[in-house]
């Protein structure tokens, strides 16, 4: 039976909808995979030299292996946040006469097939090759040790993600864990660096106690995961009933709804963004990212702000800049509804535009004082790009969005989801990025202070104040394109 289930895993992979998708998506997946691997290998190869040059007081090996336990802790945190476990894919087997113990083992095996279980090896292998002398220690044993530490994390993440508790008590448990950790560090200070280094030395010197301890920890974490998974198999389906949403609008939604003209559309937009996994993820992190960028760029020694123009451009437009890259695809699953209702498409598009404009403006208000504090030139460039990105940028994405029939599930997986990624979409982002360079060239040729930023701002503001005109144009285009898009949505 287990082999049958494993065979299903292969079939699921081979018959995955990705393979039926555009050639571009497949090429992009392969390219991204190789890019990430090459970056990890590159960091592993370059880090010893960089550390030696910048921090000569300690050897590169002492630096990195001293951080080994912290790296593993970060890996665990990363996995808890992003590693998706195949618990839902077990559901079709639950009503069949297949033992739950077998399904739990199958789920453990399935969970193992994940890039998170190998990615660190691409960094550590070149690093170990450069820092461990094979004449005295075993490089392979070092790598095996790292793989074993990752295996412990894999077991822990499976167990932790299958822990059964009420979601409302997460803040309580999180606070308790943080408190315990703080108390532990306070009363029993541990030299993490020394511990990590000793562990790694024990591994490369092939000390049996180190490998036995690691093996035991792998077994323990997996046994814990096994019992948690087995216990939770019922709960997999129980969640359907528990996820009952509250009835009616929340207080904030009622306020939005009460705004004249655009209110009901804004509520729909708010609900679309915040109630779906894929659309939600960037919505909440965009402002923190902008803040981080402001600090990162601000604390650096004064340089020409134009050095960061591409990054600033991608962030200045706020969440809307990301959301509109899939403009009108988010609605693809309910476009039939929109198309058959008495909806003023101009108002619909305009409401959409102003919703994201307002949200990005909020981001600007938060970020601008920080930028002004650190670097006035940077603040001016950020403001100019804000207007350009939200004015011209949003128009550009909406215009392209009307021609774009790709269908995406707003509630689909938030990470590593290639749905809706097409060559055309890639090209549109590229064109948008390229569009800023003529402004920069003018700024270089004409010696007037902040000319580039001023030109960005003027162009953007023009689009914002003429929104009545171009949204009418877009609405007409959308109306005439409606049938084509609806047909293509259905086909897909």
């Amino acid at each position: 039976m287990l082999f049958k289930l494993i065979d299903h895993t292969w079939k699921m992979f081979r018959r995955s909808e990705y393979f039926g998708r555009s050639m571009f998506a497949i090429v992009l997946i392969i390219f991204i995979t190789f890019f990430i691997i090459s970056q990890l290998v590159l960091v592993g190869r370059m880090l010893p030299g960089l550390l030696q040059e910048n921090f000569p007081q300690k050897s590169p090996a002492e630096w990195v292996y001293g951080f080994l336990l912290i790296i593993m802790l970060a890996d665990l945190g990363f996995r808890i946040g992003f590693q998706k476990l195949p618990s839902k894919q077990i559901a079709p087997y639950l009503h069949l006469p297949v033992k739950h113990s077998l399904l739990s083992i199958y789920q453990i095996i399935r969970s193992w097939i994940h890039p998170f279980n190998i990615y660190l090896l691409f960094f550590f292998w070149p690093f170990i090759k450069l820092t461990i002398n094979p004449a005295h220690s075993s490089q392979v044993a070092g790598l095996v040790g790292i793989a074993m530490l990752m295996a412990i994390n894999q077991g822990l993440v499976m167990a932790l993600k299958n822990l059964r508790f009420n979601k409302k008590s997460i803040p309580f448990y999180a606070t308790a864990v943080i408190l315990c950790a703080v108390l532990l560090i306070f009363f029993f200070p541990i030299n993490w660096a020394a511990l990590g280094l000793s562990l790694f030395l024990a591994m490369v010197n092939i000390k049996p106690t180190a490998f036995i301890s690691l093996t035991l920890l792998i077994i323990l974490s997996h046994v814990w995961a096994y019992f948690q998974i087995k216990y939770k198999l019922h709960y997999t389906l129980d969640q359907d009933g528990n996820s009952l949403a509250d009835n009616g609008l929340s207080g904030w939604e009622r306020i939005l709804a009460s705004i004249p003209v655009f209110g009901p559309y804004w509520v729909l937009e708010w609900q679309l963004v915040t109630r779906n996994k894929r659309s939600k993820i960037n919505f909440w992190i965009m402002i923190p990212i902008a803040l981080a960028l402001a600090f990162f760029v601000g604390i650096r020694p004064p340089t020409e702000p134009e050095t960061f123009i591409v990054i600033i451009f991608m962030i200045a437009g706020g969440y809307g800049n990301l959301h509109f890259q899939y403009a009108l695809s988010w609605e693809s699953h309910f476009f039939d509804f929109l198309a058959t209702r008495n909806i003023d498409m101009k108002k619909f598009i305009q409401a959409k535009f102003n919703f994201y404009l307002a949200y990005s403006f909020l981001q600007l208000l938060i970020v601008l004082p920080i930028l002004f504090w650190f670097n006035v030139d940077l603040a001016i460039l950020f403001t100019g790009l804000f207007f350009y990105s939200t004015g011209f940028g949003y128009f550009f994405y909406l215009r392209i969005g009307i021609l774009n029939p790709s269908r995406i599930d707003a509630n689909g997986s938030a990470s590593f989801n290639m749905e809706g990624i097409t060559g055309a979409r890639f090209l549109q982002i590229f064109v948008m990025l390229m569009s800023i360079f003529p402004f920069m060239i003018i700024g270089l040729i004409v010696p007037y202070p902040h000319l580039t930023s001023i030109l960005f701002a003027i162009t953007g503001v023009l689009f914002i104040i003429t929104q009545n005109l171009w949204t009418r144009y877009l609405a007409a285009k959308l109306e005439s394109r409606k049938y084509t898009n609806l047909n293509l949505y259905r086909e897909k």
Binding site: H8, R15, A91, H234, L237
Partner: protein, 236 residues
């Protein structure tokens, strides 16, 4: 197979969605479960198939609590919704795998399939499609066939008439009646269609807000009419 339920309560977010103090289903009975949306029909079937945990109470199949032994699974066929199909398999692969879990060989499955030829109407097998690519109606057919093809002693179907064309609805009704007569299997069928249920079942259970409010034999035409009137009264 005999089924009994004792003091069964299921809660979601502290609200009771199912509360059945006692229910007994005798071996060979063909029972229809009717009720409005949210009455608890699907929850009841999911509890019987041990897919969700009861808040309290017990379900026994052949006098064995379902949580203690899993033997009953080998004699139970069920199709509750599309989520129970393995989308990346072809219907043939799905039937074979389904049979395998019950210890039935692919050859035996192939021999049993012709019985469902009319029901499949040439649109389920040999279509070079994966289950996920079938229409909703054909997915429904594949799920029902998978549940029935293993000749279970206990068959549980949730809304089997949904998404089916009128001809297929009649075919499946006749198939269910025939199987019940031939194999003596116990069957629990939930549906919104009171006429279909009254046509094939020997007993109808009316659920409302998680409680059984009527449990009548279909031989008693007056009581069946009372159930029909119940829905009419609620609609007014």
């Amino acid at each position: 197979m005999q089924l009994s339920i004792h003091q069964l309560i299921k809660k979601y977010n502290s609200s009771i969605v199912l509360d059945i103090p006692f229910l007994e289903v005798k071996s060979g009975e063909l029972i229809g479960i009717v009720g409005n949306n949210g009455a608890g029909k699907t929850t009841l079937l999911r509890l019987i198939t041990d897919l969700i945990e009861p808040g309290s109470g017990e379900i026994k199949i052949n006098n064995q609590p379902i949580t203690q032994s899993k033997e009953w699974k080998k004699q139970t066929g069920s199709f509750l919704d599309e989520g129970f199909l393995i989308g990346f398999l072809t219907p043939e692969e799905f039937f074979n795998f389904n049979g395998f879990t019950y210890g039935i060989s692919p050859d035996a499955i192939e021999q049993r399939l012709p019985e469902y030829t009319n029901f499949m109407n040439g649109e389920v097998i040999k279509t070079q499609k994966y289950l996920r690519q079938l229409s909703t109606g054909n997915k429904q057919k594949a799920g029902i066939i998978a549940a029935m093809i293993v000749n279970p002693s206990l068959l549980l179907l949730d809304e089997p008439f949904n998404f089916l064309d009128p001809t297929s609805q009649i075919i499946i009704k006749n198939l269910l009646k025939k199987k019940n007569k031939e194999t003596g299997a116990t069957m629990l069928i939930s549906s919104h269609n009171i006429n279909h249920i009254a046509d094939i079942c020997s007993r109808i259970i009316l659920l409302e807000k998680g409680r059984i409010i009527k449990d009548v034999p279909t031989t008693d035409k007056q009581k069946v009419e009372e159930i029909q009137n119940y829905f009419t009264t609620h609609a007014e």
